[in-house]
Every structure is written in C-alpha cells, then in structure tokens.
C-alpha cells in the first residue's frame, strides 16, 4: 500500500482546520480564546505510542465512525487539563455541580470532545464528498496508551497507526494541551493512496525511515556521551508530517544554541541541532580540555557545539545514506544562538520554495538525567525522500 504525500498534506490541512474549529468551539462554550499552534501527523509504532502517552493519566472521548471513514477514533487529553476544561465549561454555563466526577462534569467534556471530533470529521467528509456517521461519544479514563481504542494499539503493533496531534494553547488563560486523533489505519491508508506515482511512498517505508531516524538519534546521543562523559538517553523520536509554516512555532520562543547544516544529495534538506543555553554550556565545559570553562555562550562554546554538531550530523545522516543507498553530504556547521522560531524560520523559508509540508524528524535527547536537552530536527526534501524510499528494494 502506498501513500501520496500530497494527500497526506491535504488530510493534515483538514485536521488543522478541524483543530481550529475545535478551538473556536471551546471559545464559544467556555469563553476562553485558544490558538492552534500546530497540527502534525505521524505514522507511529507501538513503542512511539508508549513514549507519547507514557506515565500520564488521560481522559478520552471515544466514538465510532461509519460510512466514508470507518473505525474507532478517540480524542484524548491529559486528565488535569480535562478537569480545568470541565470547570471552565460548567462555570461558563452557570451550571451547579457537586464534584468533578459528577455525570454532568463528565458530560461536559464528552460533549466538548464530540464537537471537537465533529470538526475534524466534517472536513474529511466534505473533502471525500460522502457522509461519515458518528456513533454517540463515550467518556473514558485510563493511564498511558490504554486510553486509545484496542484496534489502534493492535494496528500500532502490526504496522503502525496514523496519529494526528494538534497543540492548542490558551491566549488569555494558562491552558496548553494536545488533542490526539487516530483514524482507523487500513481505510485511512486507502484514502491516502492518491494517483501520482511521483508523490507516492510505500507506507511500510515510512516505518523503515522512522526506525532509521531513531537509530540516528541513538547514534547522536552516544556521540554526545562519548565526547562529554555525560549520561545521554533518547527521550522521544518521531517522524512527523507537518505544514512547514508550523515548524518554527513548534520549536518555540526559548533561546537555543546550535548548528544548522544544509544537506545535499538524495535527499537534500536541512538538519538542525539545538541545545538550550544551559545544556550548551554544560556540554562545552565537559568537552574542554583541562580546567578551562565558560559561564556564558562564548567562542569556546561555539567551537565545541560546532564540533559536536558535525559529528552528530554525520552519525545521523550516514545511516540514511546507507539504507537509502544514496550519497548525502552536509555543509560546514552554521552556528546559531537565537530564539527557536528565529533559527527555524530561514530554514523553512528555503525549503518552502519547493514544498508546503515536510517530514520532520524530531528527536529529543536527555542529557545528564533531566538536566539538559538536545533537539534534532531533520527536514529532508519531501519529493526526494519519497523517490529515495520508493527506490528501496521491496521488503515484503
């Protein structure tokens, strides 16, 4: 089975519109202004689902779909966020209620979930020019990935499952949360098949590439460990499909220190390695010979981060080149020290001359326990990546 990256972009766009509709619904019902930071879609395996939902308590609104799109879908949000929403909804409607666990409180979140999922499904139904019937919503609570329908977990075990994530943030209230949507795998893949061979990727190659990204992140973490003596661990690694315009917002407004590389070959693209300022200084000091240290970002830190970035990038892309049986080169490191959005904007600006969406490999490496963090963003040219993945020998 193949997916057409333009179709994937179209469905991402529809999901993004659905999330905006959901945010609008929330504003109307609860009287709070919400902004949709970004909507991305990724094909995730069981292990990524476990990482994504790990050790958190969730509230879910689950419903079945029939007709133009079939299966079970769920809208999940963290329990503590759901409780805030319950309170806001009941306060906004001047409803008397006795406790957070009351049926009315649960009903408020269920209805909100129903309206939000409706926003997603309506866009898809109108795009497919068909009706999608929804079963009545069901309120659920669970820890970790158990909040998801069994069929989604089974699909993730067998071949992966498409996970839509929209990040919403309150504009006038401190309330940030993610909405997760999982359409039924097989039918969704059929919807994504398209008919332009130049844009099609065998769906199982996406999983291959994700595994490759994970290995690359593991190599990069190992290289940081070797060069600094600090403990490192890959916290999360995901292959996301996102609108390019959303990438800078996703990286955020915190200050980062890092390096940007341009990749040439098949696929071309960009690779960005970012450290928070404290981590950059810690790493640089750990890499310095003897007793020399820096308390601020100076020339020694710049040199150390460039060197480390060089080695990490080679480790990251060598794996791609070997598996894709291509040659990929990278430019000398371009040192950056700025807000996340400002670092990423020129990168997506250049890539955006050729495409609107991108596969972004987003890996987070924990350094020295929770003391520091490194984020790696790889943005390959989507058509070239599709070509390289399609050219791989069949595996099944």
């Amino acid at each position: 089975m193949k997916v057409d990256i333009r179709e994937l972009g179209q469905f991402n766009h529809l999901a993004s519109e659905g999330a905006k509709q959901a945010a609008k619904s929330l504003s109307t019902l609860a009287g709070i202004e919400m902004d949709v930071a970004v909507t991305d879609v990724s094909l995730v395996t069981e292990s990524v689902l476990a990482e994504t939902f790990a050790e958190r308590s969730f509230v879910g609104v689950e419903l079945g779909l029939q007709g133009g799109l079939e299966g079970e879908t769920v809208l999940a949000l963290e329990r503590e966020r759901a409780l805030i929403l319950q309170e806001l909804l009941l306060d906004a409607t001047d409803t008397d209620y006795s406790s957070e666990g009351s049926t009315l409180a649960k009903s408020s979140v269920t209805e909100l979930g129903n309206i939000m999922i409706g926003g997603f499904i309506d866009g898809w139904a109108n795009h497919l020019d068909t009706a999608i019937n929804m079963t009545p919503p069901r309120y659920t609570e669970a820890n970790g990935p158990r909040i998801l329908p069994n069929q989604a977990i089974e699909a993730a075990k067998n071949h992966g499952v498409f996970l839509f994530e929209s990040k919403l943030s309150g504009m006038d209230v401190d309330l940030d949360f993610s909405l997760y949507m999982l359409p039924e795998y097989r039918q969704f893949v059929q919807l994504l098949s398209g008919n332009d061979q130049g844009n099609q990727i065998p769906v199982n190659r996406l999983s291959t590439f994700e595994e490759l990204a994970k290995e690359g992140a593991g190599n990069a973490a190992g290289q940081i460990g070797m060069m600094t003596g600090l403990d490192t661990n890959v916290d999360v690694s995901r292959l996301r499909f996102v609108p390019l315009s959303g990438v800078p917002k996703q990286v955020g407004n915190d200050q980062f220190v890092g390096v940007v590389f341009e990749l040439t070959g098949l696929p071309s693209g960009y690779l960005v390695v970012l450290f928070d300022e404290k981590s950059a200084i810690t790493i640089a000091n750990a890499m310095m010979p003897g007793d020399s240290t820096e308390d601020e970002i100076g020339s020694m830190t710049e040199g150390a981060i460039k060197e480390l970035g060089n080695i990490m990038t080679s480790g990251f892309i060598d794996g791609w080149a070997n598996v894709l049986q291509t040659s990929i080169e990278h430019s000398p490191p371009n040192f950056v020290h700025d807000m996340g959005e400002s670092i990423m904007s020129p990168v997506v600006g250049k890539l955006g001359q050729q495409q609107d969406y991108a596969f972004v490999i987003d890996s987070t490496i924990e350094i020295d326990g929770n003391e520091g963090q490194c984020d790696i963003y790889a943005l390959p040219n989507e058509r070239e990546l599709a070509r390289a993945l399609s050219a791989l020998p069949a595996q099944d």
Binding site: S107, E111, D122, A131, P137
Partner: protein, 120 residues
C-alpha cells in the same frame, strides 16, 4: 402564551445548556436522551418545536425526525448538531427537519433559528 419546546440530546450538559437558553422565553415540555424517547415524548407532549440532536444512541435524531414528521407533517424540528457535513444536512432536511443550528451554539443563534421556523 409561551411556545412549547422539547429537547432531545444524549448529552446531559447540552440539555442543561439548551434549557438554560430557552426557559426564559419558552415552556420546556420535556427532555429525551435518545431517538426513541424523542418520538415518544413528541407524541405525548405535542410541542410546538422539537430541538433534536443528530447523533444519539438507540435511534439517531434523523431517524426520530423522520418518524415524527411522518406522523405529524406539520411538526417543526430543529436539528442541533455538532455535525456540519453537507451530506448529513441533506439527510436531515429529507427527514423533514425545518432548520438546524450547529454546536456549540449561543443564545442569539438558537432564538433566531426558532423564530425563523415558528415566527412569534
């Protein structure tokens, strides 16, 4: 005399919300949690207008509307729905709905729609 309204929605929260919006201007004759209850309530209470959710258990709002308007061709049913799909709206109109409002709704929209369907 206040117009008589029934509310059919499987969500307690939405029934409360609608009741709050309507009770100052209308007489609420009853509430139903599914399509079967909605049809029974309509027959018992014979309201001037029925506010009907589309997605409900046991029998959907579209099926309930179809039965209500078959039994009473003058019935006025407003679909209150989170579903904005064009195909679903066509089905609702075919079933005899007089109008619809999309959730989440606010008081002015609800009152305007009712006024369009049964002018004061």
């Amino acid at each position: 005399m206040a117009k008589r309204v029934m509310i059919a929605d499987d969500s307690e929260f939405m029934r409360n919300l609608l009741r709050e919006i309507l009770e100052d201007d209308f007489e609420i004759v009853g509430e139903a949690e599914n399509g079967v209850e909605a049809v029974n309530l309509y027959e018992e209470a014979n309201p001037d207008i029925a506010m009907m959710d589309i997605v409900m258990p046991i029998r959907s709002g579209i099926e309930a509307t179809n039965e209500i308007t078959n039994n009473d061709p003058d019935a006025k049913v407003i679909m209150c729905t989170s579903v904005g799909q064009e195909e679903k709206m066509k089905q609702a109109i075919k079933a005899g709905a007089s109008g619809y409002i999309t959730k989440p709704f606010q008081k002015p929209n609800v009152l305007n729609e009712i006024n369009d369907v049964i002018p004061a």
